[in-house]
Amino acid sequence: MENNTKDRELLLERILDAPIDLVWEVWTNPEHIAKWWGPNGFTNTITTMDMEPGGEWNLVMHGPDGTDYKNRSVFKEIIPHKKIVFDHFAPNFTTTIEFEAQGEQTNLKWHMLFESKEEFIQVVKTFKADEGLKQNIEKLNQYLIEMIA
Protein backbone atom coordinates (compact mmCIF):
# COMPACT_ATOMS: atom_id res chain seq x y z
CA MET A 1 0.00 0.00 0.00
CA GLU A 2 2.75 2.43 0.94
CA ASN A 3 5.48 2.38 -1.67
CA ASN A 4 6.98 5.68 -0.65
CA THR A 5 9.70 4.95 1.89
CA LYS A 6 10.25 8.54 3.02
CA ASP A 7 8.16 8.20 6.16
CA ARG A 8 9.88 5.05 7.42
CA GLU A 9 13.57 5.51 6.81
CA LEU A 10 16.64 7.25 8.18
CA LEU A 11 19.66 8.16 6.10
CA LEU A 12 22.92 9.21 7.70
CA GLU A 13 26.01 10.12 5.78
CA ARG A 14 29.47 11.01 7.00
CA ILE A 15 32.97 11.44 5.64
CA LEU A 16 35.32 9.59 7.99
CA ASP A 17 38.92 10.66 8.26
CA ALA A 18 40.37 7.18 7.68
CA PRO A 19 41.18 5.05 4.63
CA ILE A 20 38.57 2.55 3.46
CA ASP A 21 40.50 -0.58 4.54
CA LEU A 22 40.58 0.67 8.13
CA VAL A 23 36.90 1.65 8.12
CA TRP A 24 36.02 -1.76 6.66
CA GLU A 25 38.14 -3.45 9.34
CA VAL A 26 36.45 -1.69 12.29
CA TRP A 27 33.06 -2.49 10.78
CA THR A 28 33.68 -6.18 10.14
CA ASN A 29 35.85 -7.28 13.05
CA PRO A 30 33.68 -8.01 16.13
CA GLU A 31 36.45 -6.96 18.52
CA HIS A 32 36.43 -3.50 16.95
CA ILE A 33 32.66 -3.18 16.68
CA ALA A 34 32.25 -3.98 20.37
CA LYS A 35 34.33 -0.88 21.12
CA TRP A 36 32.32 1.71 19.22
CA TRP A 37 28.79 0.35 18.84
CA GLY A 38 27.72 2.19 22.00
CA PRO A 39 25.51 3.98 23.10
CA ASN A 40 27.69 5.91 25.56
CA GLY A 41 28.00 4.15 28.89
CA PHE A 42 27.18 0.76 27.32
CA THR A 43 29.49 -2.18 26.72
CA ASN A 44 28.88 -4.78 24.03
CA THR A 45 29.32 -8.52 23.64
CA ILE A 46 29.20 -9.96 20.14
CA THR A 47 28.30 -13.62 20.38
CA THR A 48 28.05 -14.36 16.64
CA MET A 49 29.13 -12.41 13.61
CA ASP A 50 29.02 -14.64 10.59
CA MET A 51 29.66 -12.21 7.76
CA GLU A 52 28.18 -13.96 4.76
CA PRO A 53 24.72 -13.84 3.17
CA GLY A 54 22.36 -15.63 5.57
CA GLY A 55 24.90 -15.43 8.40
CA GLU A 56 23.74 -14.44 11.89
CA TRP A 57 24.87 -11.42 13.84
CA ASN A 58 24.07 -11.44 17.54
CA LEU A 59 25.05 -8.56 19.73
CA VAL A 60 24.21 -7.91 23.38
CA MET A 61 24.40 -4.34 24.65
CA HIS A 62 24.97 -4.08 28.40
CA GLY A 63 23.39 -0.96 29.82
CA PRO A 64 24.97 1.08 32.64
CA ASP A 65 22.26 -0.21 35.01
CA GLY A 66 23.03 -3.86 34.19
CA THR A 67 20.16 -4.36 31.73
CA ASP A 68 21.02 -6.45 28.67
CA TYR A 69 19.60 -5.59 25.27
CA LYS A 70 19.81 -8.38 22.73
CA ASN A 71 20.05 -7.53 19.05
CA ARG A 72 19.61 -10.14 16.34
CA SER A 73 20.35 -9.54 12.69
CA VAL A 74 20.96 -11.61 9.59
CA PHE A 75 23.37 -10.47 6.88
CA LYS A 76 21.90 -10.26 3.38
CA GLU A 77 24.72 -8.93 1.28
CA ILE A 78 28.45 -8.39 1.81
CA ILE A 79 30.61 -6.74 -0.84
CA PRO A 80 34.12 -6.16 0.57
CA HIS A 81 35.06 -2.47 0.81
CA LYS A 82 31.69 -1.52 -0.68
CA LYS A 83 28.52 -2.65 1.01
CA ILE A 84 26.97 -4.41 4.01
CA VAL A 85 23.24 -5.16 4.15
CA PHE A 86 21.55 -6.77 7.13
CA ASP A 87 18.04 -7.33 8.47
CA HIS A 88 17.51 -6.52 12.13
CA PHE A 89 14.69 -8.27 13.98
CA ALA A 90 12.34 -6.91 16.66
CA PRO A 91 12.17 -4.14 15.66
CA ASN A 92 12.31 -5.07 11.98
CA PHE A 93 14.41 -2.88 9.77
CA THR A 94 16.97 -3.29 7.01
CA THR A 95 20.27 -1.46 7.23
CA THR A 96 22.44 -0.78 4.21
CA ILE A 97 25.95 0.52 4.84
CA GLU A 98 27.84 1.81 1.82
CA PHE A 99 31.55 2.56 1.80
CA GLU A 100 33.24 4.78 -0.75
CA ALA A 101 36.93 5.67 -0.79
CA GLN A 102 37.77 9.34 -1.20
CA GLY A 103 41.55 9.42 -1.13
CA GLU A 104 42.63 8.87 2.48
CA GLN A 105 39.04 9.40 3.63
CA THR A 106 35.92 7.26 3.43
CA ASN A 107 32.39 8.34 2.72
CA LEU A 108 29.97 6.23 4.74
CA LYS A 109 26.25 6.05 3.97
CA TRP A 110 24.07 4.49 6.63
CA HIS A 111 20.51 3.79 5.54
CA MET A 112 17.85 2.25 7.79
CA LEU A 113 14.54 1.22 6.29
CA PHE A 114 11.75 0.11 8.62
CA GLU A 115 9.23 -2.51 7.57
CA SER A 116 6.31 -0.10 7.92
CA LYS A 117 5.50 3.39 9.09
CA GLU A 118 3.77 1.75 12.09
CA GLU A 119 6.98 -0.08 13.04
CA PHE A 120 9.01 3.11 12.67
CA ILE A 121 6.58 5.15 14.81
CA GLN A 122 6.58 2.35 17.40
CA VAL A 123 10.39 2.40 17.55
CA VAL A 124 10.50 6.19 17.88
CA LYS A 125 7.81 5.98 20.54
CA THR A 126 9.73 3.36 22.52
CA PHE A 127 12.82 5.52 22.17
CA LYS A 128 10.80 8.48 23.43
CA ALA A 129 9.62 6.43 26.42
CA ASP A 130 13.18 5.26 27.18
CA GLU A 131 14.53 8.79 26.88
CA GLY A 132 11.71 10.07 29.06
CA LEU A 133 12.60 7.44 31.66
CA LYS A 134 16.26 8.37 31.46
CA GLN A 135 15.39 12.03 31.95
CA ASN A 136 13.27 11.09 34.95
CA ILE A 137 16.12 9.10 36.48
CA GLU A 138 18.44 12.06 35.89
CA LYS A 139 15.92 14.32 37.58
CA LEU A 140 15.69 11.90 40.52
CA ASN A 141 19.48 11.80 40.73
CA GLN A 142 19.66 15.56 40.72
CA TYR A 143 16.99 15.69 43.38
CA LEU A 144 18.87 13.23 45.60
CA ILE A 145 22.11 15.17 45.17
CA GLU A 146 20.35 18.34 46.23
CA MET A 147 18.80 16.58 49.24
CA ILE A 148 22.17 15.32 50.44
CA ALA A 149 23.88 18.67 49.93
Partner: protein, 110 residues
Protein backbone atom coordinates in the same frame (compact mmCIF):
# COMPACT_ATOMS: atom_id res chain seq x y z
CA UNK B 1 -9.39 7.17 30.75
CA UNK B 2 -6.82 6.08 28.19
CA UNK B 3 -4.24 8.75 27.62
CA UNK B 4 -3.98 9.56 23.94
CA UNK B 5 -0.95 10.95 22.23
CA UNK B 6 -0.06 12.08 18.77
CA UNK B 7 1.87 8.88 18.02
CA UNK B 8 -1.29 6.88 18.50
CA UNK B 9 -3.12 9.23 16.16
CA UNK B 10 -0.80 8.67 13.22
CA UNK B 11 -0.09 4.98 13.89
CA UNK B 12 -3.12 4.02 11.79
CA UNK B 13 -3.21 4.38 7.96
CA UNK B 14 -6.90 5.41 7.88
CA UNK B 15 -6.25 8.17 10.40
CA UNK B 16 -3.24 9.37 8.40
CA UNK B 17 -5.45 9.46 5.33
CA UNK B 18 -8.09 11.49 7.17
CA UNK B 19 -5.44 13.99 8.27
CA UNK B 20 -4.21 14.29 4.67
CA UNK B 21 -7.75 14.86 3.43
CA UNK B 22 -8.43 17.73 5.81
CA UNK B 23 -4.93 19.22 5.83
CA UNK B 24 -5.82 21.84 3.17
CA UNK B 25 -9.43 22.58 4.00
CA UNK B 26 -12.03 21.45 6.55
CA UNK B 27 -14.40 18.75 5.32
CA UNK B 28 -17.71 17.64 6.70
CA UNK B 29 -17.86 14.26 8.39
CA UNK B 30 -20.12 12.70 5.74
CA UNK B 31 -17.74 13.63 2.93
CA UNK B 32 -14.90 11.98 4.84
CA UNK B 33 -16.90 8.84 5.60
CA UNK B 34 -18.03 8.54 1.96
CA UNK B 35 -14.49 8.28 0.67
CA UNK B 36 -13.73 5.14 2.71
CA UNK B 37 -15.01 1.61 2.25
CA UNK B 38 -15.31 0.98 5.98
CA UNK B 39 -18.41 1.70 8.04
CA UNK B 40 -19.44 5.15 9.21
CA UNK B 41 -19.03 3.99 12.82
CA UNK B 42 -15.43 3.01 12.13
CA UNK B 43 -14.72 6.46 10.65
CA UNK B 44 -16.46 8.14 13.59
CA UNK B 45 -14.21 6.23 15.96
CA UNK B 46 -11.08 7.30 14.04
CA UNK B 47 -12.30 10.91 14.16
CA UNK B 48 -12.98 10.61 17.88
CA UNK B 49 -9.41 9.39 18.46
CA UNK B 50 -8.03 12.26 16.35
CA UNK B 51 -10.08 14.71 18.43
CA UNK B 52 -8.77 13.17 21.65
CA UNK B 53 -5.23 13.45 20.32
CA UNK B 54 -5.94 17.11 19.52
CA UNK B 55 -5.10 16.72 15.84
CA UNK B 56 -8.64 17.41 14.71
CA UNK B 57 -11.31 19.86 15.75
CA UNK B 58 -15.01 19.54 14.97
CA UNK B 59 -16.87 22.75 14.09
CA UNK B 60 -20.64 22.79 13.90
CA UNK B 61 -22.22 24.84 11.12
CA UNK B 62 -25.97 24.43 11.33
CA UNK B 63 -26.58 20.71 10.98
CA UNK B 64 -23.23 20.01 9.38
CA UNK B 65 -20.18 19.01 11.35
CA UNK B 66 -16.86 20.02 9.81
CA UNK B 67 -13.49 18.49 10.65
CA UNK B 68 -10.57 20.86 10.78
CA UNK B 69 -6.92 19.76 11.06
CA UNK B 70 -4.79 20.99 13.96
CA UNK B 71 -1.35 20.11 12.72
CA UNK B 72 0.76 21.82 15.37
CA UNK B 73 0.80 18.60 17.39
CA UNK B 74 2.62 16.78 14.60
CA UNK B 75 5.74 18.76 15.47
CA UNK B 76 6.07 16.54 18.52
CA UNK B 77 6.56 13.50 16.29
CA UNK B 78 9.18 15.10 14.08
CA UNK B 79 11.10 16.35 17.11
CA UNK B 80 11.27 12.78 18.48
CA UNK B 81 12.32 11.45 15.10
CA UNK B 82 15.12 14.05 15.17
CA UNK B 83 16.21 12.82 18.58
CA UNK B 84 16.10 9.23 17.40
CA UNK B 85 18.26 10.21 14.41
CA UNK B 86 20.67 11.89 16.83
CA UNK B 87 20.94 8.57 18.67
CA UNK B 88 22.36 7.03 15.45
CA UNK B 89 24.50 10.07 14.67
CA UNK B 90 26.10 9.45 18.09
CA UNK B 91 27.08 5.97 16.92
CA UNK B 92 28.88 7.56 13.97
CA UNK B 93 30.57 9.98 16.40
CA UNK B 94 31.83 6.97 18.37
CA UNK B 95 33.07 5.33 15.18
CA UNK B 96 34.90 8.51 14.23
CA UNK B 97 36.57 8.79 17.63
CA UNK B 98 37.52 5.12 17.59
CA UNK B 99 39.06 5.41 14.10
CA UNK B 100 41.05 8.42 15.25
CA UNK B 101 42.42 6.52 18.26
CA UNK B 102 43.23 3.47 16.17
CA UNK B 103 45.11 5.52 13.57
CA UNK B 104 47.13 7.17 16.32
CA UNK B 105 47.97 3.85 18.00
CA UNK B 106 49.07 2.24 14.75
CA UNK B 107 51.27 5.19 13.84
CA UNK B 108 53.06 4.92 17.17
CA UNK B 109 53.19 1.13 16.95
CA UNK B 110 55.20 1.20 13.72
Amino acid sequence: MIRRDVFQAIADPTRRQIINMIADKPLNINAIADSFDVSRQAISLHIKILVECELLKINKQGRERYCEAKLGQLGEVSSWIDQYRQHWENKLDNLETYLYQLKKERKHGK
